[in-house]
């Protein structure tokens, strides 16, 4: 964004720690688009994603004293957004029906090259159609790179539940990708 090169992150963080509202706004503007992109993957729609991001940034500025500069600030703020998104579902009781499922064996085979042709917005639309439980586990595993043990700890489910939720999410996504490919490119099997 336009302020990106004006102030280094370290200085903005320092001023944010002092509670300077202008610096907070600059920091927000610098990271808002990226963080909304993160929240969009966990949300069912744009409005929900903005609510998640709003809560996330409030937490960022409240906890910014805890950031000691050990890792990248973007990584730190991103983790807060992910936790804020999961917390959002906890508060709204939308994701607590996670149960261990048998890993599905009859997954539809997809053509990776065909999937690669789908735009980011298309894939996002597919993820957003998943139920919250599947969406969160898929995001945490496939995109954030967490292990099932870590997911179990973050979400508050068993590792088995995490595995089965991921498997089911993939299965649904594959079916949806095939449908979408068929619609877009005439690859219908």
């Amino acid at each position: 964004m336009f302020l990106e090169n004006k102030y280094p992150i370290e200085e903005l963080v320092k001023r944010c720690k002092a509670g300077e509202r202008k610096a907070q706004e600059m920091l927000y503007k610098q990271f808002a688009s990226k963080m909304l992109g993160v929240c969009c993957r966990y949300a069912a729609d744009r409005m929900e994603a903005e609510d998640m991001m709003q809560n996330g940034f409030i937490r960022v500025f409240q906890k910014i004293e805890d950031f000691r500069g050990d890792g990248s600030f973007e990584g730190w703020i991103r983790r807060i957004m992910v936790h804020s998104s999961i917390e959002y579902y906890r508060k709204h009781h939308k994701m607590l029906q996670l149960v261990d499922l048998e890993e599905g064996g009859n997954e539809a085979a997809t053509n990776p090259l065909a999937t690669a042709k789908l735009a980011a917005n298309d894939l996002l639309a597919l993820i957003q159609q998943l139920s919250p439980g599947y969406r969160i586990v898929f995001n945490l595993y496939a995109i954030e790179g967490f292990s099932h043990r870590e997911i179990a700890a973050i979400v508050g489910i068993t590792e088995g539940a995490s595995k089965s939720q991921l498997s089911r999410a993939r299965s649904i996504l594959r079916e949806q990708v095939i449908k979408m490919e068929g619609k877009k490119y005439g690859y219908a099997r």
């Binding site: 994603a49 709003q54 940034f57 990776p112 980011a120 594959r174």
Partner: protein
């Protein structure tokens, strides 16, 4: 996880990991509102606890302080007059032991006391009214005429304060006069003077009481007199003709018991 799953995940990661979206304009105001609300909650927390503490203290005060003042405010204007009459009677009957020392002086003292007693009775109402005038003079005329209960309370307070003072102040003067006029009446004068100086409470019951310590009740009264300066003592004893002491009053602030003479 087979290769297909890994590739599938990687495709999503590649497309969505760096996905960005422009937020609407109302997100930042929502963040600032949330931050301000959090600050307000934080800053209010200590003030709320202080306010709660003050409320508790006021509550305790409301429960206890009025009850203390009530005990001294209870005798109203109507009850004040008969008490004065009683005190004058006791003064007249007081010089029992003194008569044996010098009967002539007894007459003199009785006369003087009668005179004082006669003076006291008319003086009492005038004292009350003058006190009222003094008090009300300090307030605007409007508030004096109003029927607010608060004003009544302020008027009744000084009356109760002056009540115990009235009977004894003249007594001291008469004793002094009698000493000056009759040197032979030292015994009577000493007794009366010591009685009046020792008994700061000026209560009619106390005036009536003999000041030699004859029994346990007298001893307790003497100690309580020194410690408790209220008109109604925490414990009061009275001696009967046989020299036995009887409990006549208890004043524990909230609990107040007083036996009639």
């Amino acid at each position: 996880m087979d290769m297909q799953d890994k590739e599938f995940d990687e495709l999503f990661r590649a497309k969505l990991d760096m996905f960005e979206a422009e937020p609407s304009a109302n997100v930042w105001p929502g963040i600032t509102d949330g931050l301000d609300a959090g600050k307000r909650r934080k800053s209010l927390t200590p003030w709320l606890s202080i306010a709660a503490g003050i409320v508790v203290l006021i509550g305790i005060g409301v429960f206890f302080i009025p009850k203390k003042t009530n005990t001294s405010e209870h005798p109203s204007v109507q009850t004040g007059v008969p008490e004065i009459a009683q005190s004058t009677v006791t003064v007249q009957s007081q010089p029992g032991p003194a008569t044996q020392a010098s009967p002539e002086k007894k007459h003199l003292i009785e006369l003087k006391r009668d005179g004082e007693a006669a003076r006291i009775q008319p003086n009492r109402p005038t004292n009350i009214t003058s006190q009222k005038n003094v008090d009300t003079a300090g307030y605007p005329a409007k508030t004096v005429k109003s029927n607010e209960p608060q004003l009544i309370a302020t008027v009744s307070q000084p009356i109760t304060i002056t009540k115990p003072i009235v009977p004894d102040v003249p007594l001291q003067t008469t004793v002094k006069i009698s000493i000056d006029q009759t040197p032979g009446s030292n015994l009577i004068a000493d007794k009366l003077a010591s009685q009046n100086s020792a008994d700061n409470k000026k209560d009619s019951v106390l005036v009536k009481r003999k000041h030699k310590i004859h029994n346990f009740g007298d001893l307790v009264n003497l100690v309580v007199d020194k410690l408790d300066k209220r008109p109604d003592k925490v414990v009061q004893f009275a001696s009967d003709e046989d020299g036995d002491s009887h409990l006549t009053g208890i004043n524990l602030g909230i609990l107040k018991i007083k036996k009639g003479e």
